[in-house]
């Protein structure tokens, strides 16, 4: 009897200790861009001691191939991935992402910008929760305008692309006379990416892809596209107002005064505002458009999704829920990527927070408004990855002097080859 009681006691003790024993820490792998992730991870881990997040951070250029190879192979890791929004349908089509509808309440879904919810869904099911969205502004260096004897635009002015071409040429200077300018007039921040360059043909009324989401012939070699990318070609090859060669990140060169204007994202505002060593005086204005067209401003959101093959569904969805809603979303906006929030409750903070009352941070309010003016998301197609990569090659070729029409026709041929497998 005593023996039995002792055994029972031991059992009870074991049971009491069980939660402690059983509460193994689940480690989640989060494949993400090189965003500042420490603050959000720290806060999440503090609230969820049973989960540890390991961020696997890689560059923008490698993220897509990584996801393609790892999720394509059916790997259970990474558990959580950063998803660039045009890829949602491609990933969902391949069943790589876990449907997320049960994770969020109706209120939470309603708080997201409707465009972002749509973009994160495929055939009516939410596959990737929005964590940020974006818009574009023209950034300029005031000294360049002074030097060229021109007046810089105001924050609410919208220059035409034709005006940009003229100003850019007037602000390109070859100081040492070696035939290569030392100060360039203009560049697109993502100089060969469809994200930013799609706004050119769209301002002229062109479309990004055929109605079936696969056809590109007659679309990306249409008159509007040829006209738009002839402008792009001229900027680099005829007017010589923008640098050719390899891709680079213009903000770095803008800060040194060697680029006078660039079209870029609002993430540059806090970057320049918080740079105490910055010597230049800068300003912003609205995204340019073609004189005989209409304003069209690029937009695109970043989302977060759960690998359909993860072994940690509960933990992974808990993290996704945290970062995309409520306090987590606000923290991600304040101390994470610094991109535009996709939650209306967080967006509203721009209007009320004192931080945005004064220049230059008040430019964030300009950006918040610009995000509502004819925002143009990228093409929705299951073959976006191929579409994006091939157009990137194409823009790089045009930028470096290839014939516009020939290059676009080659892109049609290449994209059609790749789209064949989805038909």
């Amino acid at each position: 009897m005593q023996k039995k009681a002792a055994l029972l006691l031991v059992l009870l003790l074991l049971l009491a200790a069980a939660p402690g024993l059983a509460q193994d820490v689940t480690t989640l792998t989060w494949l993400t861009l090189d965003w500042p992730v420490d603050a959000i991870i720290e806060e999440f881990e503090a609230r969820n001691p049973d989960i540890k997040i390991e961020a696997e951070q890689i560059g923008f250029n490698d993220l897509f191939a990584q996801i393609q190879v790892r999720l394509g192979a059916g790997s259970a890791v990474p558990d959580v991935i950063a998803v660039d929004v045009p890829l949602v349908s491609g990933y969902a089509f391949r069943n790589w992402l876990l449907p997320l509808d049960p994770v969020f309440t109706g209120d939470e879904v309603e708080d997201w910008l409707p465009a972002a919810v749509n973009a994160g869904s495929y055939e009516g099911t939410l596959y990737a929760a929005p964590i940020s969205t974006s818009t574009q502004l023209l950034f300029y260096n005031k000294a360049c305008f002074d030097r060229a004897g021109l007046m810089p635009p105001g924050a609410d002015d919208r220059l035409t692309w034709e005006e940009i071409a003229e100003i850019a040429q007037a602000m390109t200077f070859d100081d040492d006379g070696d035939g290569t300018p030392d100060v360039w007039g203009f560049i697109w921040e993502q100089m060969v990416r469809i994200y930013q360059l799609q706004a050119l043909p769209e301002s002229l009324g062109g479309a990004a892809i055929g109605d079936d989401g696969l056809e590109v012939d007659g679309v990306i070699n249409s008159e509007e596209w040829i006209e738009a990318y002839t402008y792009y070609y001229n900027m680099f090859n005829v007017w010589n107002a923008a640098p050719q060669g390899e891709e680079f990140w213009p903000a770095d060169i803008f800060e040194t005064g060697n680029i006078c204007m660039f079209v870029g994202g609002p993430w540059n505002i806090p970057r320049f505002a918080n740079n105490a060593d910055l010597q230049i005086e800068w300003g912003v204005s609205r995204h340019p458009y073609f004189a005989d067209g209409e304003p069209a401003t690029p937009t695109g959101s970043w989302h977060i999704g759960v690998n359909a093959n993860t072994e940690n569904v509960e933990a992974a969805t808990r993290f996704v829920h945290f970062i995309s809603t409520g306090e987590g979303a606000e923290l991600w906006w304040r101390k994470g990527s610094g991109d535009f929030p996709a939650q209306q409750s967080v967006l509203a903070l721009f209007a009320t927070e004192q931080e945005f009352d004064e220049l230059p941070m008040s430019y964030m309010r300009t950006a918040a408004d610009e995000a509502t003016v004819n925002p143009r998301p990228r093409a929705v197609t299951v073959g976006f990855l191929e579409y994006e990569q091939i157009l990137q090659n194409t823009f790089q070729d045009i930028r470096n002097g290839a014939d516009v029409e020939e290059s676009l026709n080659l892109a049609v041929q290449r994209i059609s080859s790749e789209m064949a497998k989805y038909r």
Partner: protein
């Protein structure tokens, strides 16, 4: 007796094992994979027979890339082998201090192809590259090199040859040094001039070495990949889209393993054919 017969195999075993793991198994896996199509929606592999081959044979991009590879091979191999032979003859001279020259010429081999490609990429840059700096100093116009449809493939040939020429000349040099000087002396006494002794004696005696160099060089260039990945990604306008890179792009960027494996299998067959042909043409009268 039995043990003696076994012993050589025992020594060969580690190398054979590695060959099996790293060459034979992947080759067979590729052959198998080329007959499957991954259903994009379900993610299941479905046996598809020759459907992948049909797909790539009807694909203009595959043929374009095939064409670039053929042009590249027809240019780079003769250039490399002719230059390697010339370099080998040059550094085979018995002159004082020739050892120093030999070392200098062989230096490029000591640097990996990847590093070489990146450094050449920097030197050939349109705006800030050293080569264009020299050209403009000499009064020439800047050249786009890797960014020009007409110059990119030649730039890749240059980079490949930077390592290829000294590497293959090393093999030819070894062959040259194997030729007994007495044969050449005898020819000289018989009144043969330099060209006659080169074309009638040196070249025939180099046949075996040249056969090896030709086969190895052809295969190496046919499978050229790293400089394309690092420098041009097949561009501009697919002008450097060698088939090995197209294979990589299909498999690892677009996730189309079936088409990628089918391309690899076709390449494998072509490599076998080329090697067979070259060995046949260079067969010695033995």
């Amino acid at each position: 007796m039995r043990r003696q017969q076994l012993l050589p195999y025992l020594f060969l075993a580690p190398a054979l094992g590695l060959l099996i793991v790293f060459n034979l198994v992947p080759t067979i896996a590729t052959l198998v994979e080329s007959t499957f199509i991954m259903s994009l929606r379900s993610g299941h592999r479905v046996f598809a027979g020759f459907a992948n081959y049909e797909r790539i044979f009807n694909d203009p991009i595959f043929w374009k890339s095939f064409q670039v590879t053929v042009v590249f091979s027809l240019l780079v191999n003769p250039i490399q082998i002719a230059l390697a032979l010339a370099l080998a003859l040059l550094i085979n001279q018995k002159l004082p201090g020739i050892g120093i020259f030999r070392s200098i010429y062989l230096l490029p081999i000591a640097v990996s192809l990847n590093v070489t490609a990146i450094v050449w990429g920097l030197m050939l840059d349109q705006n800030s590259g050293m080569v264009n700096g020299i050209l403009t100093q000499l009064g020439f116009a800047r050249q786009p090199f890797l960014h020009s449809v007409d110059q990119a493939l030649w730039s890749i040939i240059l980079i490949a040859s930077w390592i290829g020429v000294p590497l293959w000349s090393l093999f030819i040099l070894a062959g040259l040094q194997n030729i007994s000087p007495t044969v050449l002396e005898a020819a000289k006494i018989d009144g043969a001039n330099a060209w006659q002794s080169f074309s009638k004696i040196t070249l025939p005696l180099l046949r075996r070495v040249l056969a090896f160099v030709l086969v190895a060089d052809t295969v190496a260039n046919f499978l050229m990949f790293a400089p394309i990945l690092l420098l041009t990604q097949g561009g501009p306008r697919l002008s450097t889209n060698l088939i090995m890179y197209e294979t990589y792009r299909r498999g690892f960027i677009y996730g189309d393993l079936g088409a990628s494996s089918a391309m690899l299998t076709v390449m494998l067959l072509i490599v076998f054919l080329i090697i067979g042909l070259e060995l046949y043409l260079l067969r010695g009268a033995e």
